[in-house]
């Protein structure tokens, strides 16, 4: 039984999924528009970005998925200790079922061993839910729909890495990240956004790299060293000439977000999560039976 405070959460989760799947956040749309301005008029890069913007508009108007791969739903939830995680999880699972029926989500869950598509069900690994208790008196939920094409090009380096001549310093980190952008071309649906983590263990490093994607595109890193690295990667990656969908052009990346975790002396990981231009993330804050504020 949900506490009184949580009634109505199912509908709000369904609305969150609809918004995330069909309506790209303003920071991403404006970055794509900026990209369009930087490309030569009528070049293939220009036409590709124009087409992408048309698609974004259509999806919003029709309330349908902007990309047919509605991805893995990844939730980031902060909640006060009075709220049950099990209850929230149940509401999310119900909301996913409804969202498949309403076509906001593709039936996107497959039993890995049997190969069977499980339709509108949920199961271990789908969705991904990250809970964290906090001291505030409201719930904050962020949902990211992470597509498979871009998830597949995410990568991890263990420094030193002789393939890219990367040592255990920021120059080595820079080399790894640029190499990852080069290798992702075409397959990751550029222009993309990188979430990067330096340090941690294999798992925490990947996890933090994905969490970096929750930052708004215009958010500047508080750490001046990482801020400088973000700016430098952004500048260099866009010199690679990969462009939208790898057809050539100036707009290869829309953003780079880098975080760092402590590590133990033997390990020095650089983890890169690649996000496609369909950077679907939305969120809300919830208190007293209603949404306080929609995020992004």
């Amino acid at each position: 039984m949900l506490p009184v405070d949580n009634i109505g959460l199912l509908d709000i989760f369904v609305e969150l999924i609809r918004r995330t799947s069909a309506d790209l956040p303003a920071d991403i749309v404006s970055a794509i528009e900026m990209g369009l301005l930087s490309e030569k008029e009528n070049s293939i890069a220009y036409k590709t970005l124009q087409m992408i913007l048309k698609n974004i508009k259509l999806a919003k108007e029709k309330s349908l998925p902007m990309c047919q791969d509605t991805g893995t739903p990844v939730f980031y939830i902060n909640l006060p200790n009075s709220v049950s995680q099990i209850d929230i999880k149940n509401e999310i699972n119900k909301a996913i079922k409804v969202s498949v029926q309403k076509l906001y989500l593709r039936p996107n869950i497959v039993d890995t061993l049997t190969g069977k598509n499980l339709g509108d069900k949920t199961g271990p690994g789908y969705p991904v839910i990250n809970f964290e208790e906090w001291k505030k008196d409201y719930i904050k939920v962020i949902l990211m729909l992470k597509g498979g094409g871009c998830e597949n090009v995410g990568t991890q380096y263990a420094l030193p890495d002789s393939r890219v001549n990367a040592g255990r310093d920021l120059e080595g980190v820079r080399r790894c990240i640029l190499d990852a952008v080069h290798k992702a071309q075409g397959r990751g649906c550029s222009p993309g956004i990188l979430g990067v983590c330096i340090g941690g263990d294999r798992v925490s490093s990947y996890e933090e790299s994905k969490r970096q994607l929750l930052r708004s595109l215009d958010d500047r890193n508080e750490n001046p060293v990482l801020d400088k690295l973000e700016q430098s990667i952004m500048k260099d990656a866009n010199k690679l000439g990969i462009g939208p969908m790898g057809f050539g052009g100036r707009t290869t990346l829309l953003g780079v977000k880098i975080g760092s975790l402590c590590r133990i002396p033997p390990s020095y990981f650089v983890s890169v999560t690649y996000m496609c231009w369909a950077y679907r993330r939305r969120g809300f804050e919830y208190k007293g039976g209603k949404v306080k504020r929609w995020l992004y």
Binding site: M51, N55, V110, L240
Partner: protein, 192 residues
């Protein structure tokens, strides 16, 4: 811009060059990971007629059922490279003339495109709504129950389906050119 009707004759295939923008009309057939494996491991004869000179689309659409009709609600391309192990054999066995996908394919496919006279059409990744609007009818579906809707084979009738030839039947691949060109820039950037 070239306007092409699918199925595409081999005579028309060889006229296409990497870089050509094309609007496709006619029948295209979806097939992705599970269906490719099935086509190669089981070699079903049933699809030979449908695929002869046909166009395969790497896509797992979002579909809706309205009365007795199927409606395509979202249908952009998926990453083609995952079909690299199967594609040369699919071209050989089934006589396919075109593949639509995203991200391009590898050397083995490029060779097979030349040998069996076929092209690779690149559709813009994530363009699910624009491309769904090009589908005027769903003609048929195969293996829906067995494979689920994203992996089933959907037979689609399309109009003005926008693609770019990025790998042609003469051995040219824009993906290869782009990878090499950007690789040179990368080497300069990480050696400075």
């Amino acid at each position: 811009m070239v306007i092409l009707n699918s199925p595409i004759s081999k005579k028309d295939v060889v006229k296409l060059r990497a870089g050509d923008t094309v609007h496709l009309n006619g029948i295209i057939v979806t097939a992705r990971d599970v269906f490719h494996k099935y086509l190669i491991e089981r070699r079903p004869d049933k699809y030979k007629k449908l695929l002869k000179n046909g166009v395969l689309y790497h896509c797992g659409p979002v579909v809706d059922r309205v009365g007795k009709k199927w409606i395509i609600a979202a249908a952009g391309p998926t990453t083609s490279m995952r079909q690299e192990p199967y594609t040369a054999d699919v071209l050989k066995e089934y006589g396919v003339s075109g593949i639509i996908g995203k991200g391009g394919m590898g050397d083995r496919t490029l060779e097979a495109l030349k040998k069996y006279k076929a092209v690779y059409f690149h559709a813009i990744g994530g363009l699910a709504q624009v491309l769904a609007e090009c589908v005027v009818d769903v003609k048929d579906v195969f293996m829906l129950k067995e494979f689920g809707s994203p992996e089933a084979m959907w037979v689609l009738d399309v109009r003005d389906f926008p693609v770019t030839v990025t790998m042609d039947s003469h051995g040219n691949s824009l993906h290869k050119t782009m990878y090499e060109r950007s690789g040179k820039v990368l080497n300069r950037l990480i050696q400075s």
